[in-house]
Amino acid sequence: MSSYASHAGRAAIAAGCLLLTACPSRAHAIIGDRLFPATLAIDDPGVTDELSLPTFVRTVGPDGTREHDYAFELDKTIVPGFEIIVGDTYSRFSDGTRGLQNLELGVKYQLYGNAPHEVLVAIGVSSEIGGTGASAFTDRFSTIGPQVYFGKGFGDLPTSLDALRPFAVTGQIGLGIPTQRSTVSFSNDPDTGVPIADAALNATSLNWGFSLQYSLVYLNQSVKEIAGPDLLRHLIPTVEVALVSPVANVPDGGHTTLGTVNAGVFYEGPTYQVGLEAVLPINEASGKHPGLIAQLHFFLDDIFPNSIGRPIFAGARP
């Protein structure tokens, strides 16, 4: 017997993991006068040496299951403009299930930069390696897909629009392509005891999202000096939207786009960043209640400029 219905807990796990599995890299980026923060729900277009440790996520799935995630991610440049990404997440669910998510690996290449117009574009490939996480709640198959990242600051607007110049947008769009079209599981019918096979399609998904930022860092440096506490000069209020839309090999009833809208703020320190966002599910399939995400992020190129903070194979630092 074959069924194309998705597993009951799959949507919950997908929603809970959305923030951490759809977008493996969260590097910061500087182009011209603009600093793009290391956003939490989507990746930014930066390629540099950084470490997110820890990222803490608390979400409530559509079935009410609470999930706590503790994640890390390392971005390591191999040559200037090209990096590899390694990350993983330890998850703990309110039903007692816990363990590691699948390992995340990726590469990213800085494709284009325009300093006067504060534009950055990067491309990459992200993957989740099936079978490397806890079997209770992770896929046994891998997912891989191309990604495009972009960022645009609006500092090049005319001075008559000074109030808008601190704004910036970043975005990411990519695919998540399963290496296995369907997953077959075996069980016994609870009434008859007859063995049954259940096949669930593994959909290809479009991972997409964007952020809208208003940089008080930029405002203070380029438009109008901010009076008041020094803290204000380091903040970047941000709204992020991260979505996953099934686009191919979609099971019946599985066409719903999952995602969250995150509203929060980043504090830009000299060698680190602190990010804090509220996580708001866009629909019931994405989660039942608002969640929270917090991250401590280290700029390794600043902390260790002459060792692990620079590309392995020489070249001038950007």
């Binding site: 500087i30 011209g32 006068d33 600093l35 470490l51 440790l53 820890p54 503790y70 890390f72 330890y90 300093a115 001075t159 000074d162 860092v217 203070n220 440096q221 380029s222 438009v223 109008k224 000096e225 000069r233 830009e268 320190g269 000299p270 060698t271 680190y272 401590l296 280290f298 700029f299 190129d301 600043d302 902390i303 260790f304 400029p305 002459n306 630092r317």
Partner: protein, 116 residues
């Protein structure tokens, strides 16, 4: 939960190490960014990190884009100064670039206005 101890310890270690030099970001300036002032005789920039004056610079242009003659940049620590003279009423654009003591490069620009 024990498997979380090592990452936590690493994060704490990095946090303790995170006082190293970094990209020099502009914290404040004299004249202040976006301010209207009497004609200044110098422009001073104060950064988040120490900068190397020999590899850093400040350029000033008037509203028409004509370069304003400035003196040689100087400074110490996180401050970078450049003398200017004869600024008439109008808006001026300051473009700066800085090399921090660990050789990271940053740049920026801002405007100020000299009151009539």
């Amino acid at each position: 939960m024990n498997r979380l101890i090592l990452p936590a310890a690493l994060a704490a270690t990095l946090a303790g190490t995170a006082t190293a030099a970094a990209h020099a970001q502009l914290e404040r300036a004299v004249p202040a960014v976006g301010s209207t002032v009497a004609a200044p005789d110098h422009i001073a920039l104060f950064f988040s990190e120490g900068v190397v004056p020999g590899f850093s610079g400040i350029a000033v242009a008037d509203a028409e884009g004509h370069a304003v003659k400035t003196g040689k940049p100087s400074g110490k620590g996180a401050e970078l100064d450049v003398p200017v003279s004869g600024l008439r009423a109008g808006t001026y654009l300051v473009r700066w670039h800085a090399v921090s003591v660990d050789t990271h490069k940053t740049q920026g620009s801002f405007r100020f206005t000299v009151a009539p």
